[in-house]
Amino acid sequence: MSNNTPNMPSLFSFFRKNPGLYFRGMKNQLKQGLPMDLLTLMGDYIKKTKKADSSPTQLVANFTAGFPVEFLLAFDVWPGFPESSACTAGMCEITQPLIEHAEGMGYSRDLCAYMKTSVGAFDKGYPYDFGGSPVADMYFGTNGVCDTHTKWFENEARKHGRPYFAMDVPCVVSGSDEARWAIDSDYIVAQLYDLITFLEQQTGKKFDEEKFMNIVNKSQECSRLYLEFFDYRKKIPAAEYFVFMRVFMYAVFAMWDLDAGIKYYRNVLEKMKKRYAKAPEKIGKPEKYRLMWEGITLWYGTDFYKELEKKGAHVVYELYTESSAFRRKKTSTLDETFRQMAKEFTSATYILEQDRRIPFIEEKIKDYSIDGLILHANMSCRPSAAGMQDVKTEIEKRSKIPVLILTCDMIDPRAFSEGQVRTRIDAFIEMMEENQKQKQDQILSGGTGQWQTINR
């Protein structure tokens, strides 16, 4: 942080003021049961963000999900990611008072709870570990994922009197043809050149193409390794479930240290290779029901996912975590990279239009041997909640598995009614049980051939 604004409060001063909250947060973080190397990786980002914030020379940027972080890295600007801090507060299960605080500041109940957590935490002086985020030297937003992002960061930049760069990503609607794609692509690429000019002005540095391409290569490698892990989730039992994955994606999403990310993913893959070389019964827990989850995780829902697992139901695939990996195709020139980025901004899994979303889900159901699909109708996130009913109807028809729409919120626990959720989940499990029984009967009686074979 180079400008003369106060630094983020330290964890120690927060602890002295709020010991109860501190312990609660820590306890809830730990109950997720995440492996030490993953916790260390996550802690590394928090530690380094704080360090960047307190450094008199290090420039810090705050960016929204979907923004191409490689540009910041190429200019040695620290990538601060307030959404990840809000997620951390979600895992700590401390967001409700922060959201209510933001609502007291005039933010409506219907607005995104990531934004309200972040705004509330900043206003209450919470550190990065508990939802806060530094005042950045510059702000970067994009509407590639949602329009909340661009307005949220515009507002933050205005409040703190900092420069703001907003990247406009056209919305791809069903039926768009290649000609439309080409126009959209030109429009985005032109903005990427503007972004370079903006960063040159803010940092006083010249754009170094070689350095940038080097970073892009690393981010491609990071994505490749991250996505390779998903192959092990197709196996039965799957390598890992949702509570792990939602933190596992940090390195590929926030990209603060691509070398560390690559090293970490390589290590994990190495372990997986060894684990799956063993006899199947030695690999992991038995899975009665393999679930797919569409939409953002319930960050405060560690107990919820654990309870699902106790019932034998495991979330083995989520579109949300898979969509956090960008730069999926190798590129070698600047123009090729920019075009590829443009393609990715407009076709991320998270924002797929219905025409592509439904067949995509259908394919994943086969790939991951899914028994049931949970659609999280997220009260504060319109892009992820829209169109759920159509997905349900179509998938039930095409894949013949039960589909449950669960109306909750990713980090606002007020939208989670335990009794109501439990009844829905139990009934959903009863339906999967019945479905499996029917499939089994069909197989035993020779069947009609219309069901998939059960292989466990």
Binding site: T423, A427, M431
Partner: protein, 255 residues
Amino acid sequence: MLAIGLDIGSITTKIAVMDGNDLLDTNVSFTGYNAESAWRKILKDTLDRLQLKESVVDRIIATGYGRNGVGIADKTVTEIKCHAVGARFYMSNVRSVIDIGGQDSKFIRIDADGNVADFVMNDKCAAGTGRFLEVMARALEVELADFGKLSLNARKSSAISSMCTVFAESEVISLISKGEQRENIIAGIHESIVNRLVSMISRSKIEEPVVLTGGVAQNIGIQTALAKKLQIKIRVPDTAQVNGAIGAAILAGNI
């Protein structure tokens, strides 16, 4: 095989006792503050009435919101499945069940084999449920049991548009102060519940025969408004309120 179904709802606790395929007895009581003492009492009272000892009971299945608190149950099953099974006991070829309970309403679609094919429930809001009717009955100073009959004398239904139970109550109070006829207000209340139910049902697919269950099912005003709005025939078993408990008892007999 003596099997018992216990349905612990938010307002009432229900019990059904079955011996093989025979329904021996049913009973309803208020759940109140202490759900455990409610189900223990209804179990004891019902067995006493049948002159049976608890030791002769072969199996118990608990359902409803309080199902996990019934320590003596052999199993818990959701009210979705129990209502589907209970409705099939009443009408073997039933394809749709609409259940209006104390704090939730649900729609259950049943496939040709009698299994639950889909279900939808009200979310985040108790408007359109038994609790909503209770609040309105209090505001109108009418016995809940008389609601249905009174609404049949309405000349028109008053418009109740609020989504929230509390705001709807103030809407009702302002209608009373404007001199609106009580019957019309009640018909309006029924209509608003039915509108909510129908939009919930539209998320799935209704198929006939349709059975209406739950404590609110006996309300003739709701039955009529629902049949009119959906343009279908609605069947209501005499045992509508204890339908979930019956389903639980049937399932208990089949474990």
